[in-house]
Amino acid sequence: MERQVLVVFPHPDDETLAVGGAIAYHAHAGSPITYACFTLGQMGRNMGRPFFANRETLPQIRERELRTAVQALGIGDLRMLGFRDKTLEFEDPKTFVTIISDLIAELNPSLIITYYPGYCVHPDHETLAAATIEAVRLLPTGERPRIHCQAFSKGHERDLGKRDVILDTSAVWEHWYRAIKAHKTQTAARVEALETSLNGSDEDRMDAIRSLSEQKLYTYPL
């Protein structure tokens, strides 16, 4: 069990799609979890399938989706930081280092979960991942929390090797699945496929459950 987990991502759904299994795993173990979500994903392209959101209604809809997902995963403390999607890399980087440093000072996390800098594709991901590492490096060596990162850029395994953190999420796969379903505007296609498998043959159902029964991450070498 962790003393406190701090999750840092820019978009509602990053917490679920990138590391939902890990969050549900830590919540299930009784670890308190704070999620710092920096934007409302205002610029998302997915509007539901068939689409039901528009550019102006999307932020409110995604906030509701996020609150449902956060509950499903067992996150007790959601902080919404109020930045604008796709603009983080144009802000002063110090802004984010300061916000994350303040959160670390307030919460004293034993574990931080974010993206792996250099291997997370979206400019907002890269900005916050870099700021998180920077904020942790500002701490004295003995006081630093561990950092678990998710990577998904093309060829990341070639550089980073295999993931070293392997979590058995079989006890919480339904929590993870409920969170995926909560992000309705963003996940319709995936939910449809999972739903079909879960309602299909025993073998299809087992495959679907297995796909949500393990989460692998990298420990960031500080």
Binding site: M43, G44, R45, N46, M47, G48, R49, P50, F51, N54, R55, E56, T57, P59, R84, K86, V121, H122, P123, D124, F152, S153, K154, A189
Partner: protein, 116 residues
């Protein structure tokens, strides 16, 4: 949003003519465009709350529409628009969706600033 009704959109463009309007204009193929395809690279452009006054606004096309706004010293246009809505705030929202329903282009006009 509903499939574009050309005449109705045209009459709204006429209503906004000559007024200082806030504009939201964007087009994107998504930040992940390069992740799944070797050939694609993410491209996009975005203006939110630019304030402009146009002298002539025109919608053309069929099924997939184009809107051009002629200003005293320039032009604004959007291509690939498929759906429209006038929301509760009286704003004209136009969007172009791809076959999967993802937004590819948006052009929106409002007399008050869009929320940031």
């Amino acid at each position: 949003m509903q499939p574009i009704q050309r005449q109705e959109v045209q009459s709204l463009l006429d209503q906004f003519t000559g007024q200082a309007v806030y504009i939201h204009l964007e087009t994107t193929n998504g930040a992940y465009a390069g992740l799944h395809s070797e050939s694609a690279t993410p491209v996009g452009a975005y203006i939110r709350n630019g304030q402009v006054t146009y002298t002539r606004g025109t919608i053309t096309g069929a099924g997939s529409y184009r809107v051009g706004l002629k200003m005293e010293n320039g032009w604004i246009y959007a291509e690939g628009l498929t759906d429209w809505e006038v929301d509760d705030a009286g704003r004209l929202l136009l969007a172009g969706h791809d076959r999967e329903g993802r937004l590819a282009v948006a052009l929106e006009l409002s007399l008050t600033p869009f929320v940031l």
